[in-house]
């Protein structure tokens, strides 16, 4: 795009400053993870690697991480199926109540987490009459994750049009074959992006989780919340946060690469 040199510099400058501000609190977290102070006080009175050692040995954190990954994986998988179905219905069909269905998909993320949380908690315990456990948590997470998959899939389906699908059907391919060979390959990266966002959303969710996880179920955010208040555990928690942010770069980078390639292929 034609932009003045100055404008480019200003925009670049703004972006740089914003990124710096985004990473400033994370820098504080990193310092806390190597500070000798147990209460995250500033400035750090000294430095130590003790917390890193303790964090890496923390079975509780590892176990919570496992729970979080499991919940996020299953919830994202459910969201992928339901979100894709909904996106295909809404992008390929016209019907009465379409707007309502769209609203229905958006609602669980648009309403505040505490409302979703107490509504589901109440429904699980009194209407369904089940004990809260890991399944209630997965159902809750899947519900608010559908929208991220749906929106990504919907945008891609709209952008790619129906011509290829029609051609495939005209050539005698059945519905499922067409989906498998034509629709899905073009949808793949959008689903990946949507699925990744769903995973991230579920992974760090705390409010709905508080209300829908059973007493024995500890996801990583819940573990963090509990350990923030255990003696000497706050710096250990900081270590975990740093590790998560750093490790998350890998899936993000892979997803970025795949989506970018695919998006270009589709739009051309």
């Amino acid at each position: 795009m034609q932009l003045g040199r100055a404008a480019r510099w200003v925009l670049g400058g703004v972006t740089a400053v914003v990124l710096a501000l985004i990473y400033l609190p994370l820098g504080v977290v990193f310092l806390n993870s190597i500070s000798t102070s147990e209460s995250l006080s500033w400035p750090p009175p000294g430095f130590t690697l003790e917390w890193w050692g303790r964090a890496l040995q923390s079975e509780g954190a590892l176990h919570a991480l496992g729970t979080s990954v499991l919940v996020a994986l299953v919830a994202s998988a459910i969201a992928l199926v339901l979100g894709t179905l909904a996106a295909m219905a809404l992008s390929r069909h016209r019907f009465f109540g379409k707007e309502s269905v769209n609203l229905l998909i958006v609602l669980p993320i648009a309403l505040p987490g505490i409302v979703t949380g107490i509504a589901l908690n109440n429904a699980f315990r009194t209407i369904v009459g089940v004990q809260l456990g890991v399944w209630t948590l997965i159902v809750a997470h899947a519900t608010f994750c559908i929208v991220t998959v749906y929106n990504n899939a919907f945008a891609r389906l709209n952008a790619s049009g129906t011509r290829l699908e029609e051609a495939s059907m005209d050539l005698g391919a059945g519905l499922f074959t067409t989906f498998r060979l034509v629709t899905f390959p073009r949808l793949k990266s959008a689903l990946l992006a949507g699925g990744l966002l769903a995973f991230a959303l579920s992974f760090d969710e705390i409010i709905v989780t508080t209300f829908t996880a059973g007493p024995g179920v500890t996801t990583l955010p819940l573990w963090i919340l509990q350990n923030m208040f255990r003696p000497n555990q706050a710096p250990v928690v900081a270590v975990i946060a740093v590790i998560l942010a750093v490790v998350s770069v890998v899936p993000l980078a892979i997803a970025q690469r795949l989506t970018a390639k695919d998006a270009q292929a589709v739009s051309r």
């Binding site: 004990q131 508080t210 007493p215 509990q226």
Partner: protein
Amino acid sequence: MQKSLPRTALRAGIASMAVASLAACGTSSSDSGSEALESLGDTEGSVSILAWPGYVEDGTNDPAVDWVSSFEEATGCMVEAKTYGTSDEAYQLMQSGGYDVVAASGDLTLRLVAADLVSPVNTDLLESYEGIFGFLKDKEWNSVDGVAYGVPHGYGANLLMFNTEEVSPAPTSWDVVFDKASDYDGKVTAYDSPIYIADAAVYLMTHSPELGIENPYALDEDQFAAAVELLKTQKESVGEYWSDYLKEIQAFESGDSVVGTTWQVIQNSISTGTTDVVLPEEGATGWSDTWMIASETEAPNCAYAWLDHIASPEINATATAYFGEAPSSEAACDFRDDCEAYHAGDEEYASQIWYWTTPVSDCVDGREDVECVDYSEWTKAWQEIKG
């Protein structure tokens, strides 16, 4: 439900449910179906324990913090622990069954007894019981008609903390956070829970005797209104309300707060050395927890073994030290070097503590001519105080 905030913060998550038990206290025990165990047999191999976070640590959170493994080795009872966040949650879980042992706070114990969810404990079968401080035994929150329903665990007071540089001379009264709060404008802190209204009531017991408050958890309309008024005035000087430990430590270390309620463990954790705590002359609110055995337990021997284990001096010392409260016996102090700080065993000190109890409409101080304000009203008032 708010399992997320552990520690005593949540003991204040008291529900009006306790009413049933308090009203029933003394009546339902006589026809209670469950009996205390007569003698011990072989252990069953496993025991399921329900407790506050930090009460049953098996080293998974911190390998250095572990008093479960030694129990498992010694008794062969494998421990399955669950934590809960509020007394209500614990009550629901106990009703659903499946737990052998529960650690209950003062606002839960009598509910469990009334619902026949826990059975009397034959303290003769517990070696550790004898050494427990007398002033913790046979109390209204752990015994009914002289029958023990559990073993005391640890206790503590909600103390007054102050910054020694900013607040001098050292205060001896809660007046620094009430009538003189404006001297520390914006740097006063208070505990963020409706139960904190009782702290104001404790203050008024001394300073407004004409109100006739006998028990800070039994307030009639007028007494309650006076306490709320006091807190509304206090709010103008409050910098922040604290509900968790870390927040309070940070605030006092940085100087954002200079005076307010605290727990001993917070004072112990502050590294700057600029703070001190005092049990003011008016007395204070506090807590005392109890280990109880489920009436439906299928592992009574393991359950008794756990009660004995957790009350034994060394283990009790470790567990209460980790949680930050006074241990339940003198012998436990041999394994702790901070007993003095917690005033463990100091009967005089313990007698100044008003242990947390659920405020209910049947006044807990025994008055029958008035109705007391119940906890749901306390909650509403607390929200209004915060505005």
